[in-house]
Symmetry: C2
Subunit: 317 residues, 2 copies
Amino acid sequence: MSKPQFARAFAPASIGNLGVGFDMLGLAIAGAGDRVDARRTEASDVTVAEVRGLDGEIHPYLPNEATENTASIAAAAFWQMHGDEGSIEITVHKGVPLQSGMGSSAASAVAAVVAANALLDKPLAMAQLLPHAIEGEKFASKGLHADNVAPSLLGGMIFCPPALLPDTYSIAVPKGISSVLLHPELQVNTAQSRKGLARGYSMEQWITQQSYFGGFIAACEQNDTDLLARCLHDVIIEPQRAAAVPCFDGVKNSAMNAGAMGCSLSGSGPSIFALCADNSAVKIATAMEQECRNHGYECQSWVSAMGSPGAVVERRE
Amino acid sequence: MSKPQFARAFAPASIGNLGVGFDMLGLAIAGAGDRVDARRTEASDVTVAEVRGLDGEIHPYLPNEATENTASIAAAAFWQMHGDEGSIEITVHKGVPLQSGMGSSAASAVAAVVAANALLDKPLAMAQLLPHAIEGEKFASKGLHADNVAPSLLGGMIFCPPALLPDTYSIAVPKGISSVLLHPELQVNTAQSRKGLARGYSMEQWITQQSYFGGFIAACEQNDTDLLARCLHDVIIEPQRAAAVPCFDGVKNSAMNAGAMGCSLSGSGPSIFALCADNSAVKIATAMEQECRNHGYECQSWVSAMGSPGAVVERRE
């Protein structure tokens, strides 16, 4: 039997940090993501055929130089170590808005690696792909963190602190909880946003945030939604980043007033997420969108069950 | 039926912080603890009849002024709110060495409240006693933390950060894990030790420690002893406090070499704890004791299953 010549993979967007776990926690969402097609070539290097947007048109901003595109960088890292012969050409179909705080670069990197992996006779297990996807993400965000890559690859909620990489750990997802992710149409550059963060923190800040994080993990594992709501706070990063998202305070208030358990920035923003009971998710999404538009920003929102799946191979032939 | 006139309660020593969770995690141990007798009186205030040591003699250091003894302060806080009539006289039998980092003041406060509670016709549930036990501990350690009081009262491993008090949360205990607690005969004053801690920490320190804490909680809940061993580290407090315990580095090395999963200071020290597989606990305790004596300190150690029980009423009549 001949080897697969073509594969298409989808990788979802994700909520990095999840408010409570800066650089170490991420959650996959449903409904938004990137697709990557990988096709075998006889070339010696990975190449990018095209990058297209949701409208089907050539993407106006993303490069198709293979050394500057997160998808091809990740695919090349994978193929260099595991490819059997020749190389691959990839086509990226961007579904995640750029610089949205929704893990756009991670989704591209993950989809590329998953598609490349599907070209192998005996593809590796998903978890083994993580280091290669991280390579692409590292190029985009200039740091070693996996809080978008890991959930996009593996689905659900993933604990993935730099100190434990490349190992990551799935955290149980409480029953009956949904995420709402709102994307206001403004952009925040993750790498620059990171540079703006304070370098030093008080003992009180550290202890408070660590309490919330530990409590959040315990709450999820114990299916204790009351504790989850008490712990879904970010007292360190959110206050520093919220100013870059003028609608943040209003949207957060609208989410909380509509019954959310907690609300914070997704990644470095501008996207804003809330966690809530499944049956109030649509109401909360509507309230968040309305408030966002009141501030003059067009927006879009996605409602997902908290345990949404990670990347999948959609075609392999 | 007449009300109980006398009650005796036992409250165990405990490992505060548990290395990974400064001010927010504690573990009950077995074999060491304080006993408190409570007897009804017709006086208007709680009084202390005697404080005796393990040898049965009057304790040379602890005060029996009721306003300066953690046991009577805690008992008074309880009786003021829940007592039915008259007051109580308490006798403290100290089993936990003072300023040992083993939760000595917490054990006295807990035993006192549990004994006083047992004098009631309808005693309150154990968890309801926590705020009163904390009152006694607050006097001794000059801060609001429950990482000794909560495990001493409730047993097992308790997540009890200041941000969530008076609520506390039991964390599942992995199977087959024991604690070894070594007490070298030197004293560290908790309140002073706390004052000596740095007030500011870098983002890297905070993120690393939070990773370890979150991972430790996940490891316990998921019964993942490999992850537990990877996460049982304190990169913030231990390095600052170890210098006050000259045998610490040696004892820690001896524990790790003997197969411990991790080893750190108990509370503010000088006691040192290790977590390990049940079947290596005695070997590790022996190695730690030997190393401690090599440094010129007499010592004692206790081996406990990780889920040891909390306070109990031993007599009620």
